[in-house]
Symmetry: C2
Subunit: 486 residues, 2 copies
């Protein structure tokens, strides 16, 4: 057993307090659930282990996907829930649970409208098409941050009188003898781990418990058990607290984990800064399109720089050390983006010549020059001679100083796998039955995004399933109903 988390029988505890609905986690999913449950008349307690609400949600870009919106219609963009579902299934390589995908796609427009109308979230006046979406259907919260959405959720949560407990650690489930989850144990996060049981408080959930504790991108031991390459050599774009303890506790009481080894890496990240950082803006919008990725040990290219995230990340991991991306002044010019913040922080470096660049990154000069020369010959031939990368019409040979260099090494970005749920956000056990009293929503769940999540679909997922969990947890249900799933 984990020293930290220990689930016990209801017989062995004294309840300290009770609420109708208890929610673990205060990100997009947890706060959506809290709002929905409270509006349905339930008393709601949200526990959050950190000193502030929002979890990883606050550091997201605030991108949300929805089809058939007014923003699309005013731009003449035709889109449907069917099309969004098809895009999600294609990206997920068919591993997604089709029923869960339908729920997200079917309710996406309503949830987007809800976020604007009921919560007052403001979005930029633009519709973007991110990779893997077959049409422009992505909206970005004002100030390009998930904090914009979290702040509005918190305004509503506070107005409704939801009880938010910061700095409160989940330490285990309390179960009835029939298997129903009756409540949770918590302690002050400052009490530290392992938990002295004397410091625990027991919080009864009269109606339901909602797990909205997020993914496990920063839980190195757990993610490496599922995917051995993703060890301590790999950073995460997530905050350090994105760990698996709540999910593991749920698995220990019978919840079925699904697709845990499907973990998304961002190949656009820099090993020279922590977390998401500024490097991705240069890599994703300039380097991959206009430049080359070089193995510094050989001076050679090793992949089509415009391949998908998984292909690029796998190629880098197989190489075993960071690569160096190289582009030139013409690339930055052609892209139309500013790279000032990348240069200021030293994530991207400028060099007068290739000679200075290879010296900095310790790349053998002659092979590198040959590689660049060969790449540049592609512009005469009309195609990338080595990897067949599409050459943009405005792209030019890499020959216009200053030359820009950036080191790249993938970072864990999102965990697609997690607890199995059904369309009602009920947690499902290893035999396909619901666990009475237990619900889950957001990144802690698995099966919605399959092998790969599309950008901007996470917030849609969190809001949709957060509200579903909040609504269903309030319903008084027969304890012993344990119907088969579908």
């Amino acid at each position: 057993m984990d020293d930290r988390v220990r689930s016990v029988s209801e017989k062995s505890v004294q309840w300290d307090e009770a609420a109708d609905v208890v929610i673990i986690g205060s990100g997009f999913a947890g706060l959506s659930a809290a709002i929905e449950a409270r509006e349905a008349g339930a008393s709601v307690v949200v526990i959050e282990k950190m000193n502030a609400v929002g979890g990883n949600s606050v550091i997201s870009d605030g991108g949300i996907a929805a089809p058939g919106t007014d923003l699309q219609i005013s731009r003449g963009i035709t889109d449907t829930a069917d099309r969004m579902a098809a895009d999600m299934l294609a990206a997920g390589c068919g591993l997604n649970d089709p029923a869960l995908v339908r729920v997200v796609a079917d309710q996406a427009k309503e949830i987007f409208d809800w976020s604007r109308e009921a919560l007052g979230v403001e979005y930029l006046d633009r519709v973007d098409q991110f990779g893997g979406h077959s049409v422009a259907r992505c909206y970005t919260a004002k100030h390009v941050t998930g904090a914009t959405i979290i702040n509005k959720q918190m305004e509503r949560v506070n107005a409704l009188g939801v009880d938010i407990r910061l700095h409160t650690l989940f330490t285990g489930f309390v179960r009835q003898t029939d298997g129903r989850v009756a409540g949770i144990a918590t302690c002050d996060a400052a009490a530290g781990r392992p938990v002295d049981t004397g410091q625990q408080r027991h919080l009864k959930a009269e109606r339901g418990i909602i797990l909205a504790a997020g993914g496990f991108s920063s839980d190195i031991a757990f993610r490496a058990a599922q995917h051995p390459r993703l060890n301590e050599m790999i950073d995460s774009t997530n905050k350090p607290f994105a760990t698996a303890e709540v999910m593991k506790a749920a698995i220990r009481i019978g919840a079925a984990p699904v697709q845990l080894s499907h973990i998304q890496l961002g190949p656009w990240a820099s090993p020279d800064e922590k977390g998401y950082g500024v490097g991705p803006a240069f890599a994703e919008y300039i380097l991959f399109q206009y430049g080359v990725l070089i193995d510094p040990a050989t001076g050679s290219r090793f992949v089509n720089e415009m391949a998908d995230r998984k292909t690029l990340s796998d190629a880098m991991l197989t190489m075993g050390h960071p690569c160096v991306g190289i582009a030139d002044a013409a690339a930055v010019e052609g892209s139309g983006w500013s790279i000032d913040s990348c240069l200021k922080r030293g994530i991207v470096r400028a060099f007068d010549g290739l000679k200075e660049l290879v010296a900095c990154y310790q790349i053998p000069q002659a092979p590198l020059e040959k590689t660049i020369e060969h790449f540049n010959e592609g512009f005469t031939a009309g195609r990338d001679l080595e990897f067949g990368k599409p050459l943009l019409s405005q792209a030019l040979p890499i020959s216009h100083p200053p030359f820009y260099g950036m080191r790249l090494w993938p970072k864990v970005h999102y965990t697609m796998g997690g607890l199995r749920i059904n369309s009602r956000a009920e947690v499902i056990d290893l035999d396909g039955r619901m666990i009475p009293g237990l619900y889950a929503a957001g990144e802690i769940t698995g099966g919605i995004h399959g092998a790969s999540r599309l950008g901007s679909c996470a917030i849609t997922d969190c809001l949709v399933f957060g509200r579903i969990a909040g609504k269903n947890a309030v319903e008084v249900r027969e304890h012993k109903r344990i119907g088969k799933v579908e």
Copy 2:
């Protein structure tokens, strides 16, 4: 909780009997463990739920992989454990646990020699190179069946006095309060399910319990939870008893499941026969190389027929219905194989002309003729014009009657995921600690083959880790040693 399997505390049971080592399952892994444990002096009980030993092992082809063998050396084939490990990791897309791969590759030659010298298993005098292996290192048991190996294992098991209990169902673990697994509950398989606890017997394991219960290819509900496409529409090449109940029971007591959604499909299977059948011989050795795969709804090709197993299977599943493979008399002639058994059982059908073939499979005639014509033009052009499939030098246009047709639809073949183990075959929990008293080997374990298992590596894995489990389970170990893995 599953009605069938319920794990309980040692306090609540009366032991009916005891053995040093208790093994669940009597396939390659279970019998290897039994031999090793018994030879080390332990009393051993093997329980097997079916009426005969051997599980799925007896229906395998009996192919085993090993590097550096006398059979290779006598043929001038250079091979090493490093090379075999690299091949396994490449096929597994880097998901494999490198430490476990090393164990299999490093001990493969020894285990192959052991099977011949200690057990007396006879192999055909040939060395084959199966797909994904970079060198010929695959040996086939006499009569091309795993039963050859199982029979020799049973000779040894009987000579050693291992207690084999057929028709005996595992119904749950018995645990000590400190988490150590102390024994199991069983019942007569005829007692049926759910189990009346009055009919259970409790078998104490003084030294260790070894889980060698196989994979879950035939457990439709469980595999579809991990991979929703693999529902009841998909058959399995495995026997119907290849189900997940023992693995699920282990997860319920804390064992970490890894990579459960990585399930191997065979694209060479026929929906017109149950199980593995005879169709794969025609599909894999003639159709894919010489013929075409057609979507009967459109008359078009839809994939490079020489793509890997996963690509072909995924393309078929995406299409959503069986495809039709078409080859001609010249293909069968060129391949040098007989298809008599395929024709006799009606899995492959012969037609005087394409007209008769399209009528049988309800393919639109004009588009199909156009597809074949376009494919045939490739022989003039020197390349497959549609999908770039390599054209064999001896291949000819599809124009020599009789024409042969076969319907294809993938079948679940092997489950790469399972229980997490370490190099000592100890079962590891969700926090990376060993579960005292619990060992596992064979297809019930996960992480050795990663995203895709290479043909003929399963038997090597089963024999190697079966023996390791048998050896380590015999060691008397301190109950409370729960060291971190690596």
